[in-house]
């Protein structure tokens, strides 16, 4: 039998329900690893050991009394962007370094109700703004495949926690690639559901029209299990959609025969690392061998997604982050002279450089005289990108391409040039702009570093995405590879 920390959610679920192991034992095993690797990986902002063990004990009681669901007693980690009652929720920022949420996010509440145990809160780029986890006030997270490299971001802590086997799964959020990009760079599975599939209530907003909560797991199978518990309409989030939640796990096994896969022409551009292209082509061959039909599709407006995103997202962020004013909660400067001083110093001290850059960009593009040229134009391009996808999904069931142009880069390599950093999200942003579900699965190693394949589906096509990813993972073992030294 494999070590506890090497078990998937599905395996842990089975072992817990068979009473082969208790939730307290499982939780202790993971907490031990979380604590041991905090210094070298910095994947967590808070480790909530005490609460976790108490929850695990409760889960064990439920397991004993046969009152347990499939997730009862399974420990996971939450990205520190989800509000968790009575625990710190920092969003990776000095602004909220001491903020204790008085309520649970819907995602947290639903997983709690399903019996999930929370190990702690994972590190992230400040307010989810970043692609390398270097903007966190709590320091960068390191990639377990090579600690000199970044794990990607903004959900770097969640990706590393799963990759390094510190947690069997973690929640995460994706505004422009923040689930898929770190999943790809860390060799784990990252699912961004359709916009509106998972409630945003209690998820600290970065860009409301793009933000979507999702998962980082070891496999599509685990993602299916957890998504079922997380998804669904929430009357507290007007943008969540009132559609029934399908049985994601039940749909995993369906054969791929006749599946139409579109290969995104625009994704195989000059910026793509040839090694990654090779892996994607190999994966497509494998899917083809299983009966899928492969054809090329083109999304002509997709190359505009990065500039479009960097208008829309900062615009919304500049407004969403206005509430952090030092008045009611969060960082307040020492001895403000007057109101203006209170605002300026509280925000000046509370926010880091990348957050400020985006607030300023967003303020600029919404300003009188610039609104039409930037914000409105970006909205129009966003619609065109959306239309491109819609057309593509008339022809194919899913589209496939790389998740990132390169494997993990070194810490500090891109911090001096924000635009280079932004370009790392070039393949992921389209799905956010169009509100589509997308999943990244490990598809190879390039110079010893993981690479990711991205599968994008039509709105509410999570079942199909998980099915394709699962069938791929049945035939490959990339998702089982563990970073050297973390087995």
């Amino acid at each position: 039998m494999s070590a506890l920390h090497d078990k998937s959610v599905a395996e842990l679920s089975a072992a817990l329900r068979a009473r082969q192991v208790s939730s307290v034992e499982v939780t202790q095993a993971f907490l031990e690893r979380v604590t041991r690797h905090q210094a070298d990986l910095n994947a967590f902002i808070s480790i909530t050991a005490e609460a976790a063990l108490a929850e695990a004990a409760q889960a064990d009681a439920r397991l004993r009394s046969q009152d347990a669901g499939p997730l009862t007693g399974v420990p996971i980690a939450h990205k520190d962007i989800f509000c968790t009652r009575g625990e710190k929720t920092t969003c990776g920022s000095r602004m909220l370094a001491n903020f204790v949420s008085p309520y649970d996010a819907t995602v947290v509440e639903r997983l709690r109700a399903a019996g999930v145990v929370m190990l702690g809160k994972t590190n992230m780029d400040e307010f989810a703004m970043g692609s390398s986890n270097e903007t966190s006030f709590f320091g960068p997270v390191r990639n377990p495949w090579d600690v000199a490299r970044v794990p990607g971001g903004s959900s770097g802590g969640s990706a590393v926690a799963v990759a390094a086997r510190l947690a069997p799964a973690a929640t995460a959020t994706d505004t422009g690639g923040s689930i898929r990009q770190p999943a790809a760079l860390c060799g784990v599975t990252g699912l961004k559901p359709t916009y509106g599939r998972v409630s945003r209530f209690g998820m600290i907003a970065f860009a409301s029209s793009l933000d979507q909560g999702g998962l980082i797991t070891r496999s599509a199978e685990d993602a299916a299990l957890l998504l079922g518990a997380m998804a669904g309409f929430d009357e507290r989030d007007s943008t969540s959609v009132e559609l029934p939640v399908p049985d994601y796990s039940g749909a995993l096994g369906q054969p791929l025969k006749g599946l139409k896969i579109g290969v995104l022409k625009e994704f195989f551009d000059n910026g793509l690392d040839p090694a990654i292209e090779q892996h994607i082509r190999a994966a497509l061959d494998l899917l083809h061998a299983q009966g899928a039909v492969i054809k090329d599709v083109s999304l002509p407006h997709l190359p505009l997604s990065v500039p479009t995103y960097y208008v829309v997202a900062p615009a919304e962020c500049s407004s969403n982050l206005a509430r952090f004013d030092g008045v009611r909660y969060g960082h307040r400067c020492d001895k403000p002279r007057d109101l203006l001083d209170l605002y300026q110093r509280s925000r000046g001290e509370g926010f880091g450089a990348e957050v400020k850059r985006r607030i300023m960009t967003g303020t600029y593009v919404l300003s009188a005289g610039y609104y039409d040229a930037f914000y409105l134009k970006a909205q129009r391009v966003r619609q065109l990108i959306s239309n491109d996808f819609e057309r593509a999904f008339h022809e194919v069931d899913v589209v496939i391409g790389p998740t990132t142009p390169t494997a993990a880069f070194e810490l500090g390599a891109k911090t001096s040039d924000p635009v280079t950093m932004y370009l790392n999200d070039i393949y992921t942003i389209g799905a956010n702009l169009a509100g589509l579900p997308a999943i990244s699965v490990p598809c190879g190693l390039a110079q010893g570093l993981p690479t990711g394949m991205q599968i994008i589906g039509p709105h509410f096509g999570e079942e199909r995405l998980l099915n394709v990813a699962h069938r791929y993972q049945l035939e490959t073992d990339w998702h089982r590879r563990t970073p050297p030294g973390f087995a």
């Binding site: 969003c91 996010a105 008045v327 009188a368």
Partner: protein, 484 residues
């Protein structure tokens, strides 16, 4: 030089919903600070707004009542600015696509003519909280009970030409929102207030003058005074060779003047953009039809009916329909007249008594018509006593006042005080004879042509009968006797 005043109003009416526009907090007035502020109102990290459907229904009601176009798809937008009483750092409002477009109301001018004032738009938005300064030792407190209270902002075209017109328009909207039961209209508590955009231009000029916006006027009297002050200020400025600057001004009620608050240069760039947390408000015809069917009789319709059914003047009908409660009171008084089948109570007499004598007592004691100490049925009984000549119309005023003060019925008061009027001709004749006998010189003067002395004889005879002589009978008999 002759100047023309141009006024447009932005009226903020607080919608009478139970809970806030985007959260479940109560909207009741007067709770201890922050007792009605939940995590959404406090703009905690991660919280989201959820639209109160009742606020939408009320706005649609208003739109239909002013014959406006109800927008099938309206959008909430964020108005961004920093202030401690604005927890999110933005106000959720409507900008490019408001829920109500166009529409108009008719107002009656002082000369009795009717003028139509067009409404540009009406949109839904949330109110801000309040900053508190008193008793906080130099610090500022923030009370967010009001934050998130639903408002409908009603923007007029700049079509009013005097402070009186502006007040008439504001009163008309006030009447309307109360008829519709979408706003309690309480101006002291700030449930109904306005900003006035005021400018002047040379008569005949097409181009509008530079305007000043006077903020937060919360009484009809202040609206009139503030506008008049502002118009005079602008004219004086222009005639002195100066220029009006576009700015926001505050009305200081104690000094009766407006003061500059901030100029256009200092004004915020609000960076409006559609709120991504809220879906567009979609309204279909079925919904509109349902709301339409729920509309009550509106003030203009009611006034029209009162004129037609009771032969009232436009003025009287206008006054009586200023509130639904007043009109209801009046109509109940007339309905109760059915219990006096032999007596004809004139609708005009009823109108005069309700607006005049009863109105005076309500005003005197600061009582609303719905809390009147004289019920409609009791007033009907009093009017019946006037109609059947038991008392004179003049005496009715005293009887009504006694009814108000003592809570007794008209008949009891008339009997107890012996106020039954004298209609017996012989008794009146006797009194007249005595007065004529006692005033021979006045009689002579009268007979030599000094007609004015008729009033003197009326007065003397009334005095002799302690005011109880039936005035019509008295006049008739006196005329006969004096002419010899």
């Amino acid at each position: 030089m002759e100047w023309e005043t141009v006024i447009g109003l932005e009226i903020h009416a607080q919608l009478a919903t139970q809970s806030k526009i985007f959260s479940g907090s109560a909207t009741a007035y007067g709770a201890p600070p922050n007792a009605q502020a939940n995590l959404v109102d406090l703009a905690y990290p991660g919280v989201l707004p959820v639209l109160n459907a009742e606020a939408v229904r009320m706005a649609v009601k208003f739109g239909l009542a002013i014959n406006a176009r109800v927008t099938r798809r309206s959008i909430f937008a964020r108005k961004n600015y920093f202030y401690p009483d604005l927890p999110k750092g933005y106000q959720i409002s409507q900008y490019e696509l408001p829920i109500v477009c166009g529409g108009a109301v008719d107002i009656m001018l002082d000369d009795g003519t009717v003028k139509r004032i067009d409404v540009t738009r009406a949109h839904l938005e949330e109110d801000a909280g309040k900053s508190l300064h008193e008793g906080l030792a130099g610090m500022t407190g923030v009370d967010l009970n009001r934050a998130g209270t639903p408002l409908i902002e009603i923007v007029s075209e700049p079509e009013m030409r005097s402070a009186r017109e502006a007040v008439a328009y504001m009163k008309k909207i006030h009447t309307l929102v109360r008829y519709l039961e979408i706003c309690d209209g309480n101006m002291q508590e700030g449930s109904f207030r306005c900003d006035a955009n005021v400018s002047v231009r040379q008569r005949g000029a097409e181009k509008l003058g530079t305007r000043a916006e006077i903020k937060n006027l919360n009484s009809f009297r202040f609206v009139e005074k503030a506008i008049n002050y502002e118009v005079a200020r602008q004219i004086e400025l222009l005639e002195g060779g100066g220029q009006v600057v576009q700015e926001t001004r505050l009305y200081d009620a104690e000094r009766g003047e407006t003061r500059s608050m901030r100029s256009k240069e200092e004004a915020n760039d609000y960076r409006y953009f559609p709120d991504p947390d809220l879906l567009p408000v979609e309204i279909d015809q079925l919904y509109i039809d349902t709301v339409c069917a729920s509309l009550p009789e509106l003030p203009d319709q009611k006034a029209q009916r009162l004129r037609k059914d009771y032969g009232l003047s436009a003025y009287d009908a206008g006054v009586l329909t200023a509130s639904a409660e007043l009109a209801d009171y009046y109509e109940t008084v007339l309905e109760k007249a059915a219990s006096f089948p032999d007596i004809v109570i004139s609708p005009k007499l009823a109108a005069n008594t309700v607006m005049g004598e009863l109105g005076g007592l309500l005003n005197r004691d600061g009582v609303e018509i719905s809390d009147s100490r004289v019920a409609p049925a009791a007033l009907t009984k009093l009017l019946a006593r006037v109609a059947d000549n038991t008392i004179s119309g003049k005496m009715a005023k005293d009887v009504l006042e006694a009814m108000w003060d003592e809570g007794k019925e008209a008949d009891a008061i008339i009997e107890a005080r012996g106020w039954r009027q004298i209609t017996d001709e012989s008794a009146i004749e006797a009194a007249i004879d005595a007065v004529i006998a006692a005033n021979p010189s006045q009689l002579a003067q009268y007979r030599s042509g000094k007609d004015k002395l008729f009033g003197f004889f009326v007065g003397q005879t009334m005095k002799a009968t302690q005011g109880k002589a039936n005035p019509a009978r008295l006049n008739e008999l006196l005329k006969k006797k004096l002419s010899g």
